[in-house]
């Protein structure tokens, strides 16, 4: 009799645990990632993809999302708006949540399709100014440019009170002129808003012309990639650069990520933006688990909305490098870092928080 009561109690406990928690109906969570895996920015696409797939492997090893494995499906848009729009139209029919597209021209061609169909697609590499156009069906990975860059540039300039004039080299691409404008608003005139190779070449040329105050050159985050170091060599020693990625931060997840990234990338440390889609997949996992999304095709519309609402205002999200909050789709407390380059490595100068 006692045995039977025990079994009954166990059954009741099990039943009460499952009560209120929706039953997942999918055998596998599939998350398409519209990424530029071929074409001019294939190298960037590769490490964004690597980050997402590494996150999927880690999540699956820890039990998956709500008990089911997750798979990131690579969808190559080849930096082509034509291909991007057809691919988005293809996945939008029955996908719960997607990642990408990358980069801006494909975002502009494909995201209106996601918006029209009410599906979240996480554009985790673009600036707020692009992402905000597609709220609530994406979230911004960065605060508004005019909120985040002026304090950063002001903090950099404060190091050099004698600095009177600053020249800014700007490449007219996507949001970069706007970012340059945000730099300027912190000072009377102003860094370097060009791609990595051009930034390195400009610095080398400045040095050839006799420039010696290397730390009074500030390179913006998008130029902080392998080409800057490969092209610049020892000529960029002392140059300062800002980024959202701090390789000096240490926590078990980030340390393991760095080790695995280096193994997969000929010893290179993670580049700018490397963790973005790692974090994006974890945010999807959290949204699904916290909102009780089931993956039921009959509830697709409703569950897409649940994910969008959750992500827009997620609090205390445990990112790879730091925790952050979102308010109405905008991160509120992400830090930015200023580094000084020495011998191909970055040394932290300061952390700037909004």
């Amino acid at each position: 009799m006692k045995k039977m009561v025990g079994v009954l109690v166990l059954l009741l406990v099990a039943a009460s645990m499952s009560f209120g928690q929706a039953r997942v109906v999918v055998n596998e969570w599939q998350v398409p990632f519209l990424n530029s895996l071929t074409g001019a920015i294939a190298a960037i696409g590769e490490f964004l993809q690597w980050g997402a797939e590494y996150a999927a492997a880690e999540i699956n090893a820890a039990g998956g999302i709500a008990g089911k494995p997750v798979r990131v499906i690579p969808v190559d848009t080849a930096l082509d708006p034509q291909k991007g729009s057809v691919e988005m139209a293809r996945i939008v029919k029955d996908t719960l949540v997607a990642m990408g597209p990358v980069p801006e021209p494909v975002i502009m061609a494909a995201m209106p399709i996601a918006v029209e169909n009410g599906m979240v697609s996480m554009t985790a590499t673009t600036s707020y100014e692009y992402a905000a156009r597609f709220f609530p069906w994406t979230v911004s990975w960065f605060p508004p440019t005019l909120d985040r860059l002026p304090p950063l540039v002001a903090a950099w300039a404060k190091q050099f009170p004698a600095m009177k004039n600053v020249v800014q080299f700007i490449e007219p691409y996507g949001p970069w002129p706007g970012m340059a404008g945000a730099h300027s608003s912190a000072l009377r005139s102003l860094g370097m808003v060009t791609n990595a190779e051009k930034a390195a070449k400009l610095i080398k040329e400045l040095k050839n012309l006799g420039w010696t105050k290397m730390n009074q050159i500030l390179v913006f985050s998008s130029a902080d990639d392998a080409q800057l170091y490969a092209t610049g060599g020892s000529d960029i020693n002392g140059v300062q650069v800002y980024n959202y990625l701090n390789l000096e931060t240490s926590n078990p997840r980030w340390d393991k990520f760095k080790t695995e990234f280096a193994k997969a990338h000929k010893g290179n440390m993670p580049f700018s933006l490397s963790p973005n889609y790692y974090d994006a997949l974890y945010m999807i996992k959290e949204a699904i688990e916290k909102t009780g999304v089931t993956g039921d095709p009959k509830r697709l519309k409703e569950e897409r909305k649940m994910i969008a609402d959750y992500m827009a205002n997620v609090k205390g999200f445990k990112g790879l490098l730091f925790d952050w909050d979102m308010k109405d789709g905008i991160p509120t407390n992400k830090p930015t870092y200023i580094f000084e380059i020495q011998g191909g490595k970055k040394k932290l100068v300061m952390e700037v928080r909004p």
Partner: protein
């Protein structure tokens, strides 16, 4: 209609029309790449008219056609009878100038691009219906006009210019006038297509109008066949659609596959798959069947 089919069909129509806009001047040996700049100019202008001045889309579309034609006409006054190479250089220069001008006009989005173009119809579905009807109507009209041109005295004059300008002149062909005619026509088409292209995506970005497009159109002409308009009708959807069917593992080889196809066609079938001779023999056999 499934959404992916809609995007496939509309973009295929854009590629057909734009390839024809390059095919037609090529009838007089002009590679008239200014058409890509025309797409951008008319597209951005229509976006501005609709978004900022609340003009009706259809009026903006007509203005897009007209602006394309005006630019084409003015430029043709200078390059109507220019050598192929000069026309290519003018086209590339025009694309660069257009990009720089657009980058520096904040009111049309500058480097950021233009977002949020409205639906043409009362709903997204109506918008899609209108856009696809407009595009395929345009394909029919432009195709008909080019077909008539190809089979007219003007078409034969164009063929003579293609083979030898001096010979054409000695036959009494006004090289400049024929050159101007085909250039202006192709610019009118490109202007209108540019407007529709942006309204497919409901946005404009300068990277919608890159040299990549010229690559796509040139591949379409040379694979499909540059001596008749029918090659484009066949090659545009196939070359655009085929890679979409590739499995992910093959996707990264897409450009190599394109390149190999182009080289093979140029070596083995320099006139492309659909030649004038082939069209003629198909036409003859069809008319024989009708007679029976």
């Amino acid at each position: 209609m499934p959404l992916s089919v809609y995007y496939f069909l509309t973009i295929a129509a854009v590629n057909i029309l734009m390839t024809w806009a390059i095919y037609l001047p090529y009838r007089v040996a002009h590679l008239h790449f200014i058409t890509v700049a025309n797409m951008a100019i008319s597209g951005y202008l229509s976006g501005y008219l609709v978004m900022e001045l609340q003009m009706s889309f259809f009026l903006a579309l007509l203005i897009g056609f007209a602006v394309g034609g005006i630019i084409g006409y003015v430029v043709s006054l200078f390059i109507g009878d220019a050598p192929t190479f000069a026309v290519v250089i003018v086209g590339f220069t025009f694309i660069y100038i257009t990009r720089t001008v657009v980058e520096n006009i904040p009111i049309i989005g500058g480097t950021m691009g233009m977002f949020g173009l409205p639906n043409v119809g009362s709903s997204p579905a109506a918008h899609r219906n209108i856009i696809i009807i407009l595009l395929y109507s345009l394909v029919l009209v432009v195709g008909f006009l080019i077909h008539r041109f190809d089979n007219s005295r003007l078409g034969r004059a164009a063929s003579a210019i293609f083979v030898d300008k001096d010979l054409a002149t000695s036959l009494g062909v006004d090289i400049k006038k024929v050159g101007q005619l085909v250039q202006v026509f192709s610019c009118i088409v490109a202007g209108g297509v540019g407007v529709l292209y942006g309204f497919i995506y409901k946005s404009f970005h300068l990277d919608f109008f890159t040299f990549h497009l010229i690559g796509v159109f040139m591949t379409t002409i040379f694979v499909g066949g540059y001596s008749t308009l029918w090659g484009t009708v066949l090659a545009a959807p196939i070359l655009y659609g085929l890679p979409l069917l590739f499995p992910p593992e093959v996707q990264s080889w897409r450009i190599v596959i394109y390149g190999v196809i182009l080289i093979l066609v140029l070596v083995l079938k320099p006139e492309g798959f659909i030649t004038r001779k082939l069209v003629y023999s198909i036409g003859s056999s069809l008319s024989r069947r009708r007679e029976k």
